[in-house]
Amino acid sequence: MKTFLKILLFVVSMPLMLVLVFLESKYLIDTAGSYGIFVWGGVLVAALVTVVCTLTYVITAAQAHKAKTIKKVRVGTAAMVIVSLFFTVGVWRIIDAVLPDIFENATDHTITFDMIREDYNHRADVHMNLLNTFIRENYANGTLDEMSLEEYLDEGYANQEVRDLIAQRFTSMDAGGYKTFKANGPWLDLANSSRLTIPTLVHLIINERETEAYPFYLIAERVTYKKDPETGAYYWLDDQGNRVPAKDKNGTNIYTIDDRSDDTLEMVNWTILDMQGGTMNISLEGLLSGLGDISGILGTVQSLVGNMIEGIENALAEFIARPEVAGSYIFVDLDLDKLQVNLISTTEERGVLGYQNMAWFNSNHLLLLITSLFPARNIMYVFGAVGVLCSLCIGAIRESQFRKRKGLKADGEEAPAKSEGEGNAIPVTPAPVEEKSDLTPYMRTYAEAHQVYRSHLNKDQLNK
């Protein structure tokens, strides 16, 4: 019965903790399963702790069984308490102390420790949404074209093509964008800290940057190759039905490809709007307010040029893309109804997210690894206390079994040793306190009284 109780007590400590950590991590594992081992961080840590505690339990159980003195049994109990406390509360106290700074510096403070400490499932959702958006955009623009969208979404990060694409996209934005802005003075930092003034924006657009342009892989046009049965070379037919040889990225004729889209390389000089991603809306109301009521004029303008706006917008985008101006496209949308100009980045067109999202995205596996630790956090903190309690109970049972085995009484301290050197019973006769000359008078009085008192208790016990 006692053995069963001991096992039960052990099971409700660390193994139960492992089960609970797994259940708490399940949402994250299910959501971001395509990241493989990276979303199992918390479960792995809990499993490791369980293994260590199980080993401690087994070793101390063997020691307790062979123990000749109750002290050895107690040492085993203390070891179990310390191990279970250190590997749960201790480990997390260390993580809590060390991880926030490292983590926040690694993410440029875009994700804080507090954001993932409790809200880890939401972070998993955010990062998986990024992945799904990325796949959808690149499927829509034809870059991912070897499988169906559903298959890409199902495979997610596990798909090698997707993984390579993420790395390449991020490298391009990092080298041809972020690094060039960061090397170009304070303007990007000002924009990122809610100080995007007009002069700052102008600097971000017109400053000459040392662009380390990186080849950017973008499908310009979808064509179907055909194989020349004689030469084995691939070609495609243009609008006039002429044969155009299929060429690889270096311009060499292709002989060994399957039927897939042509690839083009684009050198991208990412603009500040691409760094931000999405669309920037600039209201013209304030600008035009000085002109009084202009609704009549606007109505006339719209009726006259409404059908030409698209062409003008394209011209503006062409103008901005000229090397003399921004060197890359910013699409312009004039919304006369709302009296605003919408500046649209190329992120969606090029199948990327804003730089911050791409930076997260590129390290998504590491972010998810850290995030996956947090479902284990609170459970391990709580099971630190549970583990201590269970260890003490197990220790008490072991002591009880030890006494039974040795035929000792259960209450108070042990009975006197059966033979010299065995056991740690307290001697009945007190040692002469006067011999301890290094004690102060106050301490000597205490020691004297203590010994007298202990002797009395033993005598009292023996007299029962």
Binding site: S194, T197, H203, T300, E324
Partner: protein, 488 residues
């Protein structure tokens, strides 16, 4: 057994009381001191200066502990009690008297300083010891309002560290400012309190000084005239400086600064690109054809738009430049010329090289030079980093109107500026507060805690010794009874 129980019980109670009274000695005093520290600390005026209150408590306790260790050498138990109590009393009372006298002297000296200039702004000592918590917090709200209006923080920041051209600014601890090699604030420098105060006061002081020296004159017009004069004078220091290598390295052909603003050459390139794109776009061509028609709807417009459009179309595809554009415009109006355009462009796209001195630093009139410096830093630099410190003034119907200041960005429209008197008052009060509050208020805090709880602390130490003696007496009785076999 009854005797044993009685001794044990007395020993237990003696021990409990000994600990309880020890607890109401220094531990309780330390807790009150900590409460005082928490109440005083925080904010821009006090900062963490009240930490000293807790340090005082710890040091005082340590001194008494050392005294207690020394007291153990005494044979007499009563002697130990008296010695420890006396030392505690001296520490508590001595600290109280010191804090009281020192703080009072500081306040009185300050009130008497500069012929009593601060007598109205610094409360009397008697008043201060009662309301110092409130006084310490009084300045926080206006100071926070100032920081919010001008979109700055108490201490400065320097975004990205380096300047745009790669030069390294130098940080001056005294000024809390990052200076470029030319002595101006660094490109990414965001003012802290000290720098903002310096810019604002320089601006208003220069205006006041100029007004005093030239009653009725307009300092902005004088500055403009002085800058134009030195610009047009080939022998001026400024003109000579522009010919130096230092200046030419920055603003000459392929200069270090020319990559960061729209130069005349670059504007022509941009206009050329615009012309090429526009001339190749059918919709723009159609739109240009419609301009005269749309212009007809705008009342009071007496420009021959047909001729403008025709001239523009002719130039679009032949390398449009600013000069060509201005030639067209000049046919119809003289209100817009190249200078007008450059003034406009310079507002948003001028880069002051961190390695060259600005034109205003060559002005002979130091008042004007200071005024120009303050305007440059407060308006131009502040406008770049989103912390405009100085408003522009416009006279509308005889009323002076002030532009917004602070955070003017693409999404924020800034705040109404504080008036000169508000600002001067704030700076004066805050600087005055910094002179004495962080130094004196913690001492007043210690004094007040000691007044209230010092005696309790001395009492606690004394009584804990009393109960320690009772405990020891019971121990001795226990020993004696045990040796005599009375416990068996």
């Amino acid at each position: 057994m009854g005797k044993l129980k009685s001794i044990k019980s007395k020993m237990l109670w003696a021990r409990v009381f000994k600990l309880a009274f020890y607890g109401i000695g220094f531990p309780l005093l330390l807790w009150f001191l900590r409460e005082e520290k928490v109440a005083l600390n925080g904010g821009y005026v006090m900062g963490n200066s009240a930490d000293i209150i807790v340090y005082f408590g710890l040091i005082a306790w340590a001194v008494v502990l050392v005294a207690q260790l020394i007291a153990h050498l005494f044979r007499s138990k009563r002697g130990r009690q008296i010695f420890a109590t006396a030392v505690t009393l001296v520490v508590v009372l001595g600290s109280l008297v010191f804090c009281d006298l020192y703080a009072e002297k500081q306040i009185k000296d300050l009130r008497a300083a500069d012929d009593g200039a601060y007598a109205d702004k610094v409360a009397t000592y008697e008043d201060t010891v009662v309301k110092y918590h409130q006084y310490a917090k009084d300045l926080e709200a206006p100071l926070q309002h100032f920081l919010d209006v001008y979109n700055i923080e108490m201490t400065s920041q320097n975004k990205s560290g380096k300047n745009t051209d790669g030069t390294e600014p130098v940080y001056d601890t005294e000024d809390d400012a990052n200076y470029s090699p030319n002595g101006l604030y660094a490109d990414g420098y965001i003012f802290g309190y000290k720098a903002a105060k310096k810019v604002i006061l320089t601006y208003y002081d220069a205006r006041a000084a100029y007004q005093k020296a030239h009653p009725g004159a307009n300092i902005d017009e004088a500055l403009q005239a002085a800058l134009e004069a030195q610009e047009n004078d080939p022998s001026s220091s400024w003109s000579q400086y522009k010919r130096t290598k230092e200046y030419q390295d920055a603003y000459g052909p392929d200069g270090t600064a020319t990559k960061y603003y729209i130069t005349p050459e670059r504007l022509d390139q941009i206009l050329g690109a615009l012309g090429e794109v526009a001339s190749g776009n059918a919709q723009i061509g159609t739109l240009l054809d419609m301009v005269p028609l749309i212009g007809g709807f705008i009342s009071g417009l007496d420009i021959d738009l047909d001729a403008v459009v025709q001239a523009l179309k002719e130039n679009l595809n032949s390398g449009l430049t600013l000069a060509k554009l201005m030639d067209i415009v000049a046919q119809f109006t003289d209100a817009i010329n190249e200078d007008t355009i450059w003034d406009l462009v310079a507002q948003y796209s001028f880069y002051q090289s961190p390695t060259t001195k600005p034109a205003f630093s060559f002005l002979q009139d130091k008042t004007l030079a200071n005024y120009a410096w303050a305007k440059y830093e407060g308006m131009t630099h502040g406008g770049k980093v989103g912390s405009i410190l100085l408003p522009t003034e416009t006279e509308v119907d005889g009323q002076i109107q002030y532009s917004k200041v602070g955070c003017i960005t693409l999404s924020e429209s800034g705040s109404d500026p504080m008036s000169e008197s508000e600002l001067r008052n704030l700076f004066e009060n805050y600087d005055l507060a910094l002179r004495y509050m962080p130094k004196v208020y913690p001492l007043i805090g210690i004094r007040n805690v000691l007044v209230l709880y010092g005696a309790l602390c001395v009492f606690g130490v004394a009584v804990s010794y009393f109960f320690a003696r009772i405990e020891q007496k019971q121990l001795a009785l226990l020993c004696k009874a045990a040796k005599e076999g009375g416990l068996a």
